[in-house]
Symmetry: C2
Subunit: 415 residues, 2 copies
């Protein structure tokens, strides 16, 4: 039996026991895991150093090495993340609906763990802990397949967490790491119907698209965000500038940052030059349509491919539009249904935008950067869903549950 199938089968068997764990037992296990990570940080950093060395020797880009790197402070933050999950309410074991039918059967709809969750992600050891914590807290087993560049770090982290679980009520087999660095191990996970109940990809576009295109196991698509801010001609100029700058500059590498600025032609005539200058001062490279380039001399030219690109960087495409309708059409064509914003003082137009744009989160006069589990008050998230089934937007603990109908009778049969 392959490593993937064997570990998934162990996870599925453990899911039976996980289903019976109390909130207290799950929380205790998470706290033991958090403490163990801190206690064993030296050996984790040692393993991480080997990954980093291999990465440097192989020419891994500095930004990837940075996301891979661990130190005492980062491990403490990761452990703290687990402790924060402990504080969140347990979404399982709740009776969501209850009804006694005319024939006397009592039907209860109960929230339950999903079962076995597969996570496919990049070389980010923090995701290993974070995903484990979220899945175990919700009573699920989890099969992790992280980027092979983090294998030594992940292996040591899992050892430490397994040891902690062995001192808890939870079955350590509920936590599985696929160690094969072969891409075929991912392909095998994607087809494990019957053993995995869902696969959640976390990473960049190519990782996510590989999962979406090839999985037969149900997938929750996450993350890709070509987010727009539309500045209407009735926008307050200072507010528009603050929101546009925040959405682009505050953390450009994440999915809820702005990639395209759409500007009403009247607003553009009066304010685009100043706004562009502010963005450029902050290091943003601008790529504009023909109209915006006549208003902002020296602005680069946007190619057709720019409109669909998630830069995740200090680059912004800029388009002048004739009004709300053109903005709506543009977003429908190029948006990824993640987060979209209108800045306007005109309530009617705002309501049209909010109603007609089909996205996980639509904003009136606030930065798209708020699409985040913590900002929404849900706590840690396993990802941001950009699909419409099961969960949409920031996915907190409830997104890791399913339901089950439990029916009590006293001999009822159907007539």
């Amino acid at each position: 039996m392959s490593e993937v199938r064997e570990k998934a089968a162990l996870a599925k068997k453990a899911a039976q026991a996980m289903n019976r764990m109390t909130t207290e037992q799950k929380n205790e296990a998470l706290l033991l895991m958090a403490d163990a990570l801190v206690t064993n940080s030296a050996s984790i950093i040692e393993a991480n150093a080997r990954d980093l060395e291999r990465g440097r020797a192989g020419g891994t880009p500095a930004s990837m090495l940075d996301r891979l790197a661990l130190n005492d402070q980062r491990i403490e933050a990761i452990a703290q993340g687990l402790r924060e999950i402990v504080e969140l309410p347990d979404p399982t074991g709740r009776i969501i609906e209850e009804a006694t039918r005319p024939n006397g059967i009592v039907i209860r709809k109960l929230s339950v763990p999903i079962g076995v969750i597969g996570i496919v992600y990049e070389a980010r050891p923090n995701v290993t802990v974070d995903a484990a914590g979220l899945c175990l807290k919700t009573g699920n087993s989890v099969v992790l397949r992280g980027g092979s560049a983090a294998l030594e770090s992940n292996r040591r982290i899992i050892e430490v967490m397994h040891e902690a679980l062995s001192r808890s009520a939870l079955p350590p087999e509920a936590l599985q790491l696929i160690e094969s660095s072969d891409r075929s191990s991912v392909d095998e996970m994607l087809k494990l119907n019957g053993l995995l109940d869902v696969i959640i990809p976390r990473g960049g576009r190519s990782l996510i698209q590989n999962v979406v295109q090839n999985a037969t196991v149900p997938v929750i698509e996450t993350g890709e965000g070509v987010c727009h801010t539309y500045v209407d001609d009735e926008a307050d100029p200072a507010m528009a500038e603050a929101i546009a700058i925040n959405a682009k500059v505050q953390r450009p590498s994440v999915c809820n940052s702005m990639e395209t600025l759409l500007v009403h032609e009247r607003f553009a005539g009066a304010h685009l030059a100043a706004l562009a200058a502010r963005l450029q001062e902050l290091g943003v490279e601008l790529r504009g349509c023909a109209k915006s380039r006549t208003l902002v001399p020296g602005m680069g030219e946007a190619a057709e491919t720019d409109w669909g690109t998630e830069y995740n960087d200090l680059i912004l495409s800029v388009k002048v539009v004739s009004g709300l309708d053109e903005a709506l059409d543009h977003i429908r064509l190029y948006g990824t249904s993640h987060s979209e914003c209108i800045v306007t003082g005109n309530t009617e137009r705002a309501e049209r935008f909010l109603a007609e744009i089909d996205a996980a989160a639509v904003y009136h006069n606030a930065s798209t950067r708020f699409t985040d589990g913590f900002e929404f008050g849900y706590g840690a998230e396993i990802g941001i869903s950009t699909q419409k089934l099961h969960a949409r937007g920031p996915m907190g603990l409830p997104a890791l549950t399913s339901t089950k109908f439990i029916i009590h009778g006293n001999g009822q049969i159907r007539g």
Copy 2:
């Protein structure tokens, strides 16, 4: 552009307008559709007769011809189904959550239509109307691809419904029928990410598995039911007999009927012969394990493949087990997570069964035949989900909705 892509694109465009329709407008359209079907029943029956003739000439089995056949009474029942959907509450447009965050942004989670729903189904013209009604009532567009043996019937039914929609506020383009009888039209639908938001297969195992195995669009898996009834040694014999007979005999062709009877060895010793005789009197063919065959002379022998078979017929596999644990193990191995039942007077064992069996519906002392939208009080259903994401068990109107976060601010940016 292919027929599939062209019609899906029209459906997607119409989904924008559908999203704005009021409950009253949607209900009015459904009532117009219902009336039009009755008014035009002669021409529908004429088209159906051509399908039936072609089917008979091609050697289609009688059971399939029966499900394909329409007459005045059936068309009236189908129209009545639409009128019943009108009576159901509209699940869209509800504010599910609302919170004002410390920074003053107001976040509302709103229930919204999914968008465009693809339905792949067999040669059953009633599903054409039923699926159209459920999808339009929830503000969705729908792309239907029914079995080609019903093409003439479906084409005429869609014409009639389109004509009715053209007299309503709803865009007729929200309702699309794929007419190509080529299997490649199904394959094309399964990969239409970006145009279809979900595909729901309705039909037998091979149809469902084709969709699950090949779709890149999210799927809601429905229907396959290898359902068990476990009769414990503390079961009331009369209740056990009534439930077992109802679960097998009342309507054997449907997914929530029983396929395997598991019997505690003590109950079997005292009562299996009598229960088997009753089932045989009712025309049920029994296929038993070795132990059950020693207790019921003349019972046929179950092959290994019987345990995983959904007969959908008056056939039942029978296994004597040593107790609850063996029953749980058997169900875990062969069940399809649809509906499972324990008959027992022992509360503790019942609670263990209900907690440990991982299925959409678990029953204590009631027939599995109750897993049904109407029986649960939800009204018409688009199918019974056997997966754990998005919806599980009978899927009523709420299963055809998604959510959307709407955020109002007054200039908030993220710090």
